[in-house]
């Protein structure tokens, strides 16, 4: 395989209403932690986690909304260059499912046309308070060409599976969703690199 042993980096964004557990999913995935009373996301909004598949390695650059979704004020830069998105709803709250559908629409409108979208019905540990049946979400997902999993950041059920499934679905051979295929971009974050060896002499 041409892609064997290679590392692919992808931007992944989280979307969904406030308090459906977006940050909890990420913290569970990245750090294996869960806080019952997770503060609304402060200070941590840029995490990376690497997933090893059989022949490739996928590095996720995970963007949390940082609360900008609350008043429908998410900046367009959030969607830019995102290769994957997880749209999260809370299975105990029907409104959040309806809003999740809106987010999927928004992504299909604003996002990269080849974006891989996963729908996550979170808080599956609270099955007794369930308001959204998995069958309904499943059929919505099928109709819209996205994939669906019920997850629980609290018990870790399906959390890793969700990210691994996304990693599998991401195209490994098409050019990355970066400007100009990522060519000629410079990294400003890690100090000044030595001058480029471009040009003559």
């Amino acid at each position: 395989m041409a892609a064997a042993g290679r590392v692919f980096q992808f931007k992944l964004v989280l979307l969904g209403d406030s308090a459906v557990g977006k940050s909890s999913l990420v913290l569970r995935f990245v750090r294996g932690q869960f806080f019952e009373y997770q503060e609304s996301t402060i200070g941590a909004a840029f995490l990376t986690q690497t997933v090893a598949l059989n022949d490739t390695t996928v590095k996720f650059e995970i963007w949390d909304t940082a609360g900008q979704e609350r008043y429908h004020s998410l900046a367009p830069m959030y969607y830019r260059g995102a290769a994957a998105a997880i749209v999260v709803y809370d299975i105990t709250n029907r409104d959040t499912f309806q809003r999740a559908k809106q987010w999927v629409k928004e992504l299909q409108r604003q996002g990269n046309p080849n974006i891989v979208i996963a729908l996550s019905g979170n808080k599956s540990d609270l099955a007794s308070k369930r308001k959204v049946e998995p069958e309904e979400a499943e059929s919505y997902a099928n109709d819209n060409g996205i994939f669906f999993m019920e997850t629980s950041a609290k018990t870790a059920a399906n959390v890793n599976e969700l990210f691994v499934a996304i990693a599998r679905k991401l195209p490994k051979n098409s050019p990355q969703a970066r400007p100009g295929g990522g060519q000629g971009l410079v990294n400003v974050t890690q100090g000044a690199p030595p001058a480029e060896k471009k040009g003559c002499c």
Binding site: S18, F29, V30, R31, G32, Q33, F34, F35, E36, Y37, E39, T41, I42, G43, A44, A45, F46, L47, T48, Q49, T50, V51, A52, T57, E61, T65, A66, G67, Q68, R70, Y71, H72, S73, A75, P76, M77, Y78, R80, G81, K154, T155, A156, N160, P179, G180, Q183, G184, L185, V186, V188, T189, G191, A192, P193, A195, E196, K198, G199, C200, C201
Partner: protein, 704 residues
């Protein structure tokens, strides 16, 4: 809608670059920030639009919609009975003045308008400048992608004397100077001496000068705030032009330094005018320090348009707890007995706050305010157009800046900054080019009057660099074939997009016909007449939009110049002869760039107080529109000042090491056991310290 907290430390209205930086800086040091924007998009004057949005904005459609929303909000605020004094805040017009030449209907038929990111105020980042420093330190750079500027050029505008003067490279590094073909040997030596003298005048300058001489990157000598000029042989007072004169810098090179490096906005009236010697020397040194840091030139561009910068600062603000409400406004400022602002009325309710920052999208109705003065207000003249091929730089240098400075016999004439962008910075589809022209506006001349001659000239220069049309008719036929093939590709693309194919076909047929007509005209020697006609009556539609009289010089392929790149420098005669028998897979022939879509407009520089003499309450800070600058250094300075007014004792956008986050208030946390994740590596690109802190906090909680 969820209820807003009743109190914020700082309310910021407007998401332009300055406001967003202040919002982020305040949130970063623990202030509670509410950030609003009256518009439904981020960026205010630093916004970036798709082609469709740009068209709507130019036609003022956005204003109409806002006016309705504004009336509603106004009524709401008026209905609220309040004791005590208050000031009404109205939405100020954001649109352009004297806009001409917008026609997105035709442009939309040519390509997907969403593929464009067109800046209202295009900007570059100086590699060793304050903006890059802030971006790196604060971690905001993580949210952005950067690309080095390919070519930094200048061109002296004296069309009468030298109608075909090419764009030259700004000579800065030792290699540049030695390799320059335009500088006489004597001038090379004078320039070398001058640049060394500039470096030597700064603290630690000797080392810097040595380093520059050795062709290495020049390190910033001291903290950017206070580099005290060394007591050198030259006195530091006087203007930069006078200093350069004492250093025996020839006038031509002084112009390069003044306009291409220091970006003086207009031709100096006299040598005592312009930047001071100290400002100038610091500017030149900053420029030299910027060379070779990330690329050959001193600048970086960020991808997806300049609106990404304010958005990235907004994200930082949100990450540190800032609350975001776009498309909401402050309609009233409530005052306490002492005349200080104590609260603001927003569309989500009344919010008490200690500070209010208002950008010029809002206008405060001050009690003593006279009716707003007639429009002699300063402005920025702008032109944005979509081209089929680059006009600046060599191949691989599509991202290019060219400073076109005014002729010496035109004191006060504006410097024009031409910034060319391509798909490499994700502002347009592949094969197209976006060209921005910007200059200080003039009350007497519209943006079009100021900038159209420069645009024409750049197009002419580029056309002149393209080899003349081949004589053999057979070859021309070949070219047309190729053009058709590309057009088909374009059609297929449109079909994919679900666009109406038939219409597109019709458009293209029309275009072809028109092109042919123009070609005939040109062959008939009536080129000048056609030009006049075009200037006289600009109708709507693709072809009418074409500003380029030279465009007709090429065949049908010109419209779809997918991979055509113009090699060599503008005006350089090093064009390879056209391939006699072009194979199918050979690179397509170079073509003269053609304007597909373009607009001229003036951006008035507005103020929230609108020139009224009455003062705002001391804790209401206006953020007036900044004059145009090709780099964002002035915005950083303004944001820094505003932040220091609000938080005099706190660092401005510090790093995590410098200013670690304060531990949050006590809250319950429980960690649930789970199987170890089967991931090979957990790595944090940023906020490592924060994560460590989080970890230590959680482990201490579990043990305790």
């Amino acid at each position: 809608m969820e209820g807003l907290p009743g109190h914020f430390d700082v309310v910021v209205v407007g998401t332009g670059l300055v406001e967003s930086m202040v919002a982020a800086a305040c949130a970063r040091v623990g202030r509670r920030v509410l950030h609003l924007d009256t518009r439904q998009y981020y960026g205010a004057r630093n916004a970036t639009f798709s082609l469709r949005q740009m068209g709507e904005w130019l036609r003022g459609e956005e204003e109409e919609a806002e006016a309705e929303a504004g009336a509603e909000a106004g009524a709401e605020a008026g209905a609220e009975e309040r004791r005590g004094a208050s000031l009404a805040v109205r939405a100020a017009p954001t649109g352009p003045s004297r806009a001409s030449h917008a026609g997105d209907a035709a442009a939309a038929a040519l390509f997907r308008p969403a593929e464009f990111n067109l800046d209202l105020s295009p900007q570059l980042l100086l590699c060793a400048g304050a903006m890059i420093d802030v971006l790196r330190r604060s971690g905001v750079a993580n949210y952005l992608e950067f690309k080095p500027l390919g070519a930094h050029l200048y061109s002296a505008a004296s069309p009468a004397a030298q109608p075909r003067l090419a764009a030259e490279r700004v000579p800065c590094s030792k290699a540049d100077i030695f390799l320059s073909s335009s500088l006489p040997l004597l001038q090379k030596r004078q320039l070398m001496k001058f640049l060394q003298a500039c470096l030597a005048r700064r603290a630690g300058g000797d080392a810097a000068a040595q380093s520059w001489l050795a062709g290495r990157a020049v390190k910033a000598a001291a903290a950017p705030d206070a580099p005290p000029p060394r007591a050198a042989d030259e006195s530091p007072h006087g203007s930069f032009a006078e200093f350069a004169g004492r250093q025996r810098l020839p006038d031509a090179l002084l112009d390069v330094a003044l306009y291409a490096i220091l970006h003086a906005p207009r031709r100096l009236e006299s040598s005592a005018d312009g930047p001071s010697a100290e400002e100038g020397v610091n500017g030149v040194c900053r420029h030299l320090e910027s060379l070779g840091v990330y690329g050959p030139s001193a600048y970086l561009a960020n991808c997806y348009g300049s609106s990404e910068l304010p958005q990235a600062f907004c994200r930082l603000c949100a990450v540190w707890g800032g609350t975001y409400m776009i498309h909401r406004r402050v309609s009233r400022i409530l005052l306490d007995d002492g005349g200080r602002m104590e609260a603001v009325v927003t569309s989500e309710g009344t919010v008490r706050c200690d500070w209010l920052l208002l950008n010029a999208d809002s206008r405060v109705e001050l009690p003593a305010a006279p009716p707003s003065p007639p429009a002699a207000a300063p402005s920025t003249a702008r032109c944005v157009c979509v081209l089929t091929a680059p006009v600046l730089g060599a191949e691989g240098e599509e991202l290019a800046l060219c400073t076109v400075f005014p002729a010496s016999d035109e004191p006060g004439a504006p410097t024009v900054f031409a910034l060319q962008q391509d798909a490499g910075v994700a502002v347009c589809p592949k094969g197209k080019v976006v060209l921005h022209l910007s200059a200080e506006g003039s009350a007497h001349r519209s943006a079009r009057q100021l900038l159209e001659p420069v645009l024409q000239r750049l197009l002419e220069l580029a056309a002149a660099a393209v080899p003349p049309p081949p004589a053999a008719a057979a070859e021309e036929e070949e070219e047309r074939e190729e053009g058709k093939g590309e057009e088909k590709e374009e059609e297929e693309k449109k079909e994919e997009e679900g666009g109406s194919k038939k219409e597109a076909e019709k458009e293209e047929e029309e275009m072809k016909e028109e092109e042919e007509e123009e070609k005939k005209e040109e062959e008939g020697g009536s080129k000048k007449e056609a030009e006049k006609e075009e200037e006289g009556q600009m109708k709507e539609g693709t072809k009418e939009e074409t500003l380029d009289d030279a465009a007709a010089a090429d065949g049908g392929g010109a419209g779809e110049g997918n991979d055509e790149r113009r090699g060599g420098e503008a005006g350089g005669g090093e064009a390879p002869p056209p391939d006699a028998t072009p194979a199918l897979d050979a690179p397509p022939p170079r073509v003269a760039p053609q304007v597909l879509w373009g607009a001229f407009f003036d951006l008035p520089l507005r103020s929230s107080t609108d020139g009224s003499g009455a003062a705002l309450p001391a804790n209401v800070l206006p953020v007036d529109d900044l004059p145009f600058a090709i780099d964002s250094e002035a915005a950083v300075e303004r944001a820094h000042q505003l932040f220091k007014t609000i938080c005099p004792d706190k660092p401005f956008l510090p790093s995590l090491e410098e200013y670690p986050p304060e531990p949050a208030v006590d809250e319950m946390e429980a960690e649930i056991e789970c199987e170890t994740p089967r991931f090979i590596d957990t790595q944090f690109t940023t906020k490592v310290e924060y994560e460590r802190w989080l970890q230590s906090r959680s482990s201490s909680r579990t043990s305790g």
